[in-house]
Amino acid sequence: MAALMSISFQIVVCGSIVPDPLQTLEPVTTPAGPGLKNEMMLPAVLDPWASHSLYEAANLAKQHPGSKVWLVSLGPKAKLQQVMMTVAQKAAFELVAVDGSASGFSDSAQTAAALAEAIQGIPGLDKSRLLVFGGWESASRGAGVTMQMVGERLGIQDQFQGVDQIKVEADGSFEVMERVEGGQHQLSRCAGAPALLGWATGNLPEPKNNPQIGMMNMRTVAPALQKAKPFKPASNDLTFNSISLPKQVRETKIVKDKSADEIARELLEWIQQ
């Protein structure tokens, strides 16, 4: 146990903001390319899978005294400020903010470049203790591409995606469970940091709000937002021919007056067709 406690990590979580999943989204064309209708007005949340990775990072840091968690977040400064009011109460971290678009239509390669630069700019970062966390996909672009590109830019060759569990051993090595096809997990053992983990849902519930953690975090959140570097993507080669909502609208038949027997027979026939 003593050996386990002597291991400490520097955990950098990459997580942007996305529209609240309950919002209706509609694509629009803007001078800068495709966007969402009333994008700046839509309530935002920390990207769901990135949130899970933040909770896992905080939990891992708690188990290994001397560890520290940073949250590197790329998004419009005003929106980040709103989202941090909630997120900062969930887990202890130091914010590194990058002021730029969090649109799902931005290019993953450029986002990765901005995130990698922000990570490399963290003072005193020790690569031999570095774990880079994030969601395995965003709820905006949903490509599952950015984290691997960040890892490559940082020279990290041990990467895992769809992670649901990390178990650290006394020697600093760790076992990782990644989602693979058919409801299975792949188990791998990595010799230790540095490594990159793109998280799926993990195993932890969402932490309850903790005002003490919130107050502690907010001491660093405001200065981080003030000194957030602006991110203006260079023109890229990505061209959108169209963005459209699915056209398929179903005519739902509502069956209210049938017995369980009748419904079961109807369903059986449907299943066996």
Binding site: V18, G142, E152, Q161, G183, Q186, N236, I254
Partner: protein, 344 residues
């Protein structure tokens, strides 16, 4: 002129997974519309001859292979070295690959390593007038985009289940070995195997015709004022056994476990469908005790025929998300359905 590389890995039996055969169909279709494009096959695995023979009739000008025990398993570092080496030897401008967990993990990193770009979850790859357009979903299947890129190499990962599988007869292929050297830094991770997600029973069946979704209503108080979670478990497991359906769940049901409430013991986050879950492809889907709210229903994008059972006639499924909504007690209906399935 574009040079198309179809890039795949072999399974334990030495053959290609079905998702790879689908990606090969996409590559062939692209080759035909791009006219003068050349097709090269790249294979990674413990051994690749059987896989090369399997697709020998695809018309590739070359078949390149990286083989060895280190490449038999799924690992970022070794897969990246192998894929990058094949891409370089092939001189690929377009890399078409199956969007499986193994390739999805590594190929975006390889694109970065080679100064290229990557797009994933592609549902359509089409060419017109010598240019290439690809289709993919944004915002968790809420809107569909058609995009183009000029940068090369462009890695295109095709979503499994979105294309017909290549099925021409095999023959004997000549594989050109591509030499790859591994350093100790690339062997820091050991593959330890795969296992089910802590379930006693296999409930996730990607090949199933039917998806059965259980919502949080199964664990709520019923007409007698009591929850009947054990009864729900029995009904659902019996249904899965009799119908061979795949089991999905809503986020709210899976999350109840983390909050200490009684839940269906065989459910894990891997069953979760929707915003923070999966988006499976099945011909039919039956939702039970689930309200069909948008964050869940976005996971149903690729379910063709949809039916739902819910006590609330105004639930989300009624608003154009299901073909048929049965306003009924799922406990009663599934019990009767199980009896019919067992009798049949």
């Amino acid at each position: 002129m574009e040079k198309i590389l179809f890039l795949a890995y072999t399974q334990e039996d030495g053959l290609l997974p079905s998702a790879a055969l689908e990606a090969l169909s996409a590559a062939l279709s692209l080759k035909s519309v791009l006219g003068s494009a050349e097709l090269v096959v790249g294979l990674v695995g413990g051994a690749v001859q059987s896989a090369a023979d399997q697709i020998a009739g695809c018309g590739a000008s070359r078949v390149l292979g990286v083989t060895g025990p280190e490449f038999a398993v799924s690992r970022y570092s070794t897969d990246a070295v192998a894929a990058a080496a094949i891409c370089k030897v092939a001189g690929a401008t377009l890399v078409i690959a199956p969007g499986t967990s193994r390739w999805q993990r590594v190929l975006p990193g390889v694109a970065q390593r080679l100064g290229g770009v990557a797009d994933t979850h592609l549902t359509q790859v089409e060419g017109a007038d010598g240019s290439l357009k690809v289709t993919r979903w944004y915002y968790r299947q809420r809107m569909e985009g058609v995009i183009q890129r000029q940068q090369r190499p462009w890695f295109l990962l095709v979503d499994p289940g979105s294309q017909p599988a290549y099925a021409k007869p095999g023959a004997t292929a000549v594989v050109e070995p591509v030499a790859v050297e591994l350093s100790p830094a690339q062997m820091r991770t050991d593959f330890k195997g795969c296992r089910g997600a802590g379930q006693d029973v296999q409930t996730i069946r990607p090949e199933a015709k039917l998806l059965f979704v259980a919502g949080a209503g199964w664990t709520k108080k019923q007409a007698d004022g009591q929850p009947h979670v054990k009864d729900a478990e029995g009904l659902i497991l019996n249904f899965l056994k009799a119908s061979r359906a795949s089991l999905g769940s809503s986020k709210s049901l899976v999350d109840l476990g983390g909050e200490g409430e009684a839940v269906l013991s065989f459910l894990t986050h891997l069953n979760q469908i929707g915003q923070t879950g999966s988006t499976p492809r099945h011909a039919k889907g039956l939702s039970t005790c689930c309200h069909g709210e948008e964050p869940h229903a976005v996971g149903w994008r690729f379910i063709n025929e949809r039916r739902a059972i819910n006590l609330d006639a105004n639930c989300g499924w009624a608003r154009g998300k299901a073909d048929v909504l049965y306003v009924a007690d799922a406990f009663a209906v599934v019990s009767k359905l199980n009896a019919l399935l067992t009798a049949g």
